[in-house]
């Protein structure tokens, strides 16, 4: 593999009809899933994947993900995703994913923060032994780092959900993209016809399991909503969703609804 392919790794995609949401676009949960997939594939290729981590008795855990899109890939559209590592330190690696249209023009970015944890203690490990495999790229990413997501003291709306078999991943926890769906499911189909998500931030704080009954709490205004998924006393995820009205599609504008 050439050095520049080690530093930056790309996959071409085609968005089939069957993969689209009701607005005939890529859903946010599929985008989240694809960002996780390409991060995993790149880590495997540079020798910093799950099998390398297993040699250290460790595993990668996604800690934070921020997705910001000028627009989503549309039905029957070809697009490409390119990923690179922006920075590493002893405890985490920050990875960028760029989503570009068929002409190579960027239409959005993801920022993913991965932590290496010890499989037994579930505590962060020192990533120094795999630093040599984690070569950061100089390439810039224009979107802001994740906001500090704080506790919701008094929710405007709450709902309950029980996780089921199909929500569970290979680690026997609720799958990362399922939380994205559960959060967006707090709004109606009609709301998504009129608005789109321009920025989505999620912090994964603890794990939910099959049959856990969780509370989804939200609070905010017509543009920015904070959400929490809570299982008894413990917070599973915190999230911030920024909506823009669809008539401003193509801009990152901040018009309220």
């Amino acid at each position: 593999m050439q050095n520049d392919q080690r530093r930056e790794f790309s996959i071409d995609y085609f968005l089939s009809a069957a993969e689209c949401n009701a607005q005939q676009e890529m859903s946010l949960s599929l985008l989240a899933q694809r960002c996780i997939d390409i991060a995993t594939a790149h880590a495997n290729r540079i020798g910093a994947g799950y099998s390398r981590m297993l040699e250290l008795g460790a595993s990668w855990v996604l800690s934070r993900m921020t997705l910001e899109m000028i627009r989503m890939p549309r039905i029957n559209e070809s697009f490409a995703m390119t990923t690179w590592i922006q920075s590493v330190n002893r405890h985490f690696s920050e990875r960028i994913v760029e989503i570009a249209d068929a002409k190579g023009v960027a239409i959005g970015y993801g920022r993913l923060v991965w932590v290496g944890i010890d499989i037994v203690s579930r505590r962060p490990i020192d990533l120094t032994p795999i630093f040599s495999a984690l070569e950061p790229s100089e390439r810039a990413c224009p979107i802001e780092r994740q906001s500090r997501l704080t506790a919701i003291d008094q929710a405007d709306e709450t709902s309950m959900y029980r996780f089921r078999y199909s929500d569970i991943d290979f680690n026997r926890h609720v799958t990362s993209s399922r939380y994205v769906e559960l959060m967006l499911d707090q709004w109606s189909l009609d709301y998504f016809d009129r608005n789109r998500v321009s920025r989505f931030e999620i912090a994964y704080l603890s794990e939910a399991h099959c049959d856990d009954v969780v509370e989804v709490r939200r609070k905010g205004d017509s543009r920015v909503q904070d959400l929490e998924i809570v299982n008894g006393g413990s917070v599973i995820t915190r999230s911030r969703v920024t909506f823009v009205p669809r008539h401003t599609d193509g801009s990152m504008g901040c018009d309220a609804e």
Copy 2:
């Protein structure tokens, strides 16, 4: 495109960790989704896809799907899917999907029956105008056609579910693979540790929409279970799930649990 690539169309896949279920295998709903995807991709390539159907004021609708697996693709496994049309008549096309391991050995099959419907009347159209694009292959498929799935008179178990935004597809109906998940979600994680689905049959009878509250009804023995998703008086899907204990993995055996 060569004639044999028109007749039989293949895609290579790699099952990433993030795509796996709790048993570290491909989930049945992802398999269903991939079967729909490859069918769509092949139809597009031979000039019988959604855009050709739209010229006739029509669309493809999946009517029945039967999946039978010796085993599922496993975590980090390469596999291939190959599809061909087995038969066509005026009102439907029957398509086969073979799933093969990295050595080319078949590990399972799908049978999909697609109907062409008029977009306005929702009635079946005459497929004769696109017969020339639908060239059946001689290649055999070893799995049985779908059973006749009849009404469940007295259910053993029932549960309720409300469809949400993330369950909806580009047609603004509940997405085909979501019904597969909802049906399997009637069993526990532990049950799937001890048993796997060897055969899954589903008939799509009518459409469910966002915010529909449906009843999932099931009845059967430890090996074969029939399920219905019912919305008020109308049946949305009927399904039959055949389980085998996991200790017989690798056989198509009919041992009861």
